[in-house]
Amino acid sequence: MDALTRDQLAIEPARVLTAPDLLVGSSLPGWHAAGGGIGLRRALEDRAGIIGVLERAGLRGLGGAGFPTHRKWEAVAAQPGPEKVVVCNGNEDEPGTFKDRFLLGRTPHQVIEGALIAALAVGARQVVMYVNPHLGSVLPTVAEAVAAWRADPVLLELAAALGGPVTLEARASSGRYIGGEETAVVAWLEGSFPFPRRKPPFPAESGVHGKPTLINNAETLAHVPHILRHGAAWFRSRGRGGAPGTKLFSLSGDVQRPGLYELPMGTPLAELIEEHGGGMLMGRAFKAVFTGGPSNTLLTADHLDVPLDFDSVRARGSRLGTGAMIVVSEGTSIPRRVTEFVEFFAESSCGQCPPCKTGTYQLATLLHRIDSGHGTRADLDSIRQLCGLLPGSGRCGLIDGAVTVVASSLERFGAEYESMLRG
């Protein structure tokens, strides 16, 4: 959080979500003064057109998946009946990701307004702000903001449009890593442990207590009022190289100025590190980046030119994920960082799927053995075997993410592992 108060937030002109006048905390009048409410007003005026605007804007899910937002909304809107739910996912617990906590803690109203627009678009009368309770004062801030909206007459207009009273509430999430997975969100809101469930059915068909449920990441929803206010073309023009909009990048690791940067989608990795991050720490050489999760394929010096948008990163064999960029310099042990991440995944695995829990522990054990200098070639072979055997063995993607990090680090830094083997 410290990093967020630093001067890097002054970088213009990209800032849509983090412009200084938006950082009003839970003050609803402050949000209105900054132009808040206009998006919702437009939505009320043309309810049927909301999803089309998002489609033209090209907004995609910014929690990591990059799934086109309008399609998700369409799926829920297509479900019959008034009993639907919109959930703003603010569970954020991935290592290296710290964007949602900024939005929800410093400028929650745009997120709430986005959620209300979503409710209007899909026909939901229940809106839940699902917030990680372990993020300092973020949850209380959201709760205050929610209370302010409840007292706002616009909710009555919303109720009139939706044919019944609208409930808006802030709910503490489990705060567990796994609790951010969509079906886990549903389980938690139903009062159970946040276990991911098998899909299908997807929450859009059958979510909280069987109701069609729209679950969007906080950053995704935050863009919505701005898009409705300024239009799809405006949003598209915020990005670079054809990628629409802006993205919050959580830059951390061995850079001069780690922090949260809102930059045009499609900003090259090198630019993020060099111009915004101030370059590598103490003049060290760049080695690699663990992206968003950190459950994706590592980016290396060969990828410094990659534009940071969903399609470009995927075209280079990795994923943008949450926009977290954990930068590693030469002199830092890749196997050690990978070991730390895999240990995190092993701890976070929910337990339902034994191959996930035992497999991640076994990976961590073998990695630790190599990292501590006792590893042998057989241990490396065993790691490779696990990477081949495990994927797909979980109800959610945790095991796949863990394997991706390990496998890609082996592929791209195999020599470093080899050099650490005993003998």
């Binding site: 006792h374 042998t376 070639r377 083997l421 005993r422 003998g423």
Partner: protein, 566 residues
């Protein structure tokens, strides 16, 4: 199904891995044997045990044994596979341990099966610091595989004397009377101790007394048990107790490769190889207890074995080199009911509990040929006689006799499901429904009857070195009764643990220790004209694909270590 009658005998393939080297006979086809079993059999003939054993017991075959040429028991006969290890050169030299880390403890226990845990728990209870080193993981041993039970004379109609007499007679009167008396006299106390550790024993119908089963070769029912997983119950309780006991340290995957001694010839520790660290570690100790078990994985006389993978006679090798004497090392137990078919499960055990509950053995003609609850050596020899005289049964190239589980189930409906869980487990893995189909069984190498000679406190001929469990000799004579192995490891584990603790307290930990005996040993080998290129202890049998040289230095290991093959 064809009617029983004359049938063309099927020749056993001599090259077949399931054939027994010194038996050359034909066998009756499986399908014909099943047909022959349709009729109820007559009672079996009473065997002439001595003659039967002389002619058909594997240990009695020509070339089954050879005399030892060096060491404290030179002249004693033992199987060539064991002799090769006992008379081999050491795996290590002074130079290998020059830079090794040194660890000190009061009592060092080598071997992590039942005996090792009992000894460790006893020594720590006496206030000593204990280190247990084990080749695999703690409890991965033969103890955990014991199914039948543990003998102790607790029944009202039973007595210590009856237990003593049965044990001595079952062992062909070769056992040491003092050791046997100690074994049986402390049996009830051993059971009490096990209960105190939290071991469950089955109770009889009254709910007040211990349930007792009948063992082969005994005069009264004396086997106490936990279903048919007694060893599992004993081992999991003792393993937990050992792992959780402050004062006991356990090193898994750490085989001992050599014992250490001081100038006075007293055992003062051991050199351990850590498979985690790929390094040698020197352990200095006030006293050492060997609980390394037996030698089944040497496949004596080419038999399959029921033993776990670590049964490679390491303890015998180490102790013998340091001057301990041996006894009855030419005598092994071949458990009658090892799996003969299917091939992948060959040698695995079907508990004596099956025969104890009334299952009969039948040959290819459907005949019973031996009272099923005779001592194990007699039953096994009788089975080999049937096979050797052409009355064995052949199935897919595997030869044995039939264990009539369908007959048992007919006589006692439900008994297989209720009381023979492990048998059902083996049958399931074999793809056999034991209610409908008999099991094909053949003797399997099961137990080392002899071992290192000990006194009643587990002391060997080498000061500071104690033994307990299968590695020790003198209790079972030339044949062990069912249930006496578990009892032995508890009784003598406790005695060895207490004696070692006492000695270690008197001596203090550590002290000067070296490998000087290695030079003497090599001189003796050379003097006897024995080669120095054969190395022991074996540590792991050939199937384990272990190469010490490669494991120590994976980057520069061109060839397999020179451990002698069994």
């Amino acid at each position: 199904m064809s009617a029983p009658g004359p049938m063309p005998p099927t020749a056993i393939q001599r090259t077949d891995a399931t054939a027994i080297r010194w038996i050359d006979a034909t066998a009756i086809r499986w399908i014909d044997a099943l047909a022959a079993c349709a009729a109820a059999p007559a009672d079996p003939p009473a065997p002439d045990a001595p003659a039967l054993l002389r002619r058909w017991h594997p240990d009695a075959q020509p070339n089954a044994t050879e005399p030892l040429r060096v060491g404290a028991s030179a002249g004693m006969r033992c199987p060539p596979a064991l002799a090769a290890l006992l008379q081999a050169n050491t795996l290590i030299d002074d130079v290998d341990v020059a830079g090794a880390a040194v660890v000190e403890t009061d009592v060092l226990v080598i071997g992590g099966g039942g005996g090792g845990c009992v000894a460790a728990l006893t020594a720590v209870a006496a206030g000593r610091k204990v280190l247990v080193v084990t080749k695999f993981g703690l409890g991965d041993s033969n103890t955990v595989m014991a199914e039948g039970g543990i003998q102790a004379a607790v029944g009202a109609e039973d007595s210590l004397q009856a237990h003593y007499d049965d044990t001595l007679a079952g062992g062909q009167r070769a056992g040491d009377p003092t050791l046997v008396r100690t074994l049986v006299s402390e049996g009830p106390a051993a059971i009490r101790w096990l209960i105190g550790q939290g071991m469950t024993f089955d109770l009889d119908e009254s709910g007040h007394n211990l349930r007792r089963k009948r063992a082969g070769g005994t005069s009264v029912p004396r086997i106490l048990s936990t279903r048919d997983v007694t060893g599992l119950e004993l081992m999991r309780v003792l393993r937990e107790a050992t792992l959780l006991r402050p004062g006991i340290t356990v090193w898994n995957r750490s085989p001992a490769v050599e014992l250490l001694s001081d100038a006075a010839g007293r055992c003062r520790g051991a050199v351990i190889y850590s498979l985690y660290l790929h390094r040698f570690v020197t352990v200095r100790a006030g006293a050492v207890i060997l609980t390394t078990g037996g030698a089944g994985r040497l496949h004596i006389n080419d038999f399959p074995t029921s033993n776990h993978l670590g049964a490679t006679a390491d303890g015998l090798v180490l102790a013998y080199r340091l001057g301990a004497t041996l006894r009855e090392v030419d005598s092994f137990q071949y458990h009658p009911t090892g799996v003969a078919w299917p091939r992948a499960l060959r040698g695995q055990l079907i508990s004596e509990a099956a025969r104890s509950l009334g299952a009969q053995l039948r040959n290819g003609r459907g005949e019973r040929f031996v009272p099923e609850l005779s001592p194990r050596d007699v039953v096994a020899a009788a089975m080999l006689r049937e096979i050797g005289e052409g009355r064995g049964v052949e199935r897919d190239g595997c030869v044995g006799v039939l264990l009539d589980t369908p007959g048992l189930e007919r006589a006692r409906p439900g008994v297989l499901a209720q009381s023979l869980v492990s048998l059902g487990h083996v049958a399931h893995k074999s793809g056999v429904d034991p209610v409908r189909e008999p099991m094909l069984v053949c003797p399997t190498l099961h137990y080392q009857n002899g071992g290192i000679a000990i006194a009643a406190d587990g002391a060997t001929g080498v000061p500071g070195l104690f033994c307990a469990g299968e590695v020790a000799g003198g209790i079972h004579g030339r044949n062990r009764l069912m249930g006496n192995a578990l009892l032995e490891l508890v009784v003598f584990g406790r005695r060895a643990g207490a004696a070692a603790a006492g000695l270690a307290q008197a001596a203090g930990p550590g002290g000067r220790a070296n490998l000087d005996h290695v030079q003497d040993w090599r001189r003796a080998l050379v003097a006897a004209g024995l080669p120095l290129d054969a190395r022991a202890p074996l540590l792991f049998p050939e199937i384990a694909n272990f190469d010490l040289t490669a494991d120590r230095a994976p980057h520069r290991a061109p060839h397999r270590a020179a451990a002698v093959a069994a």
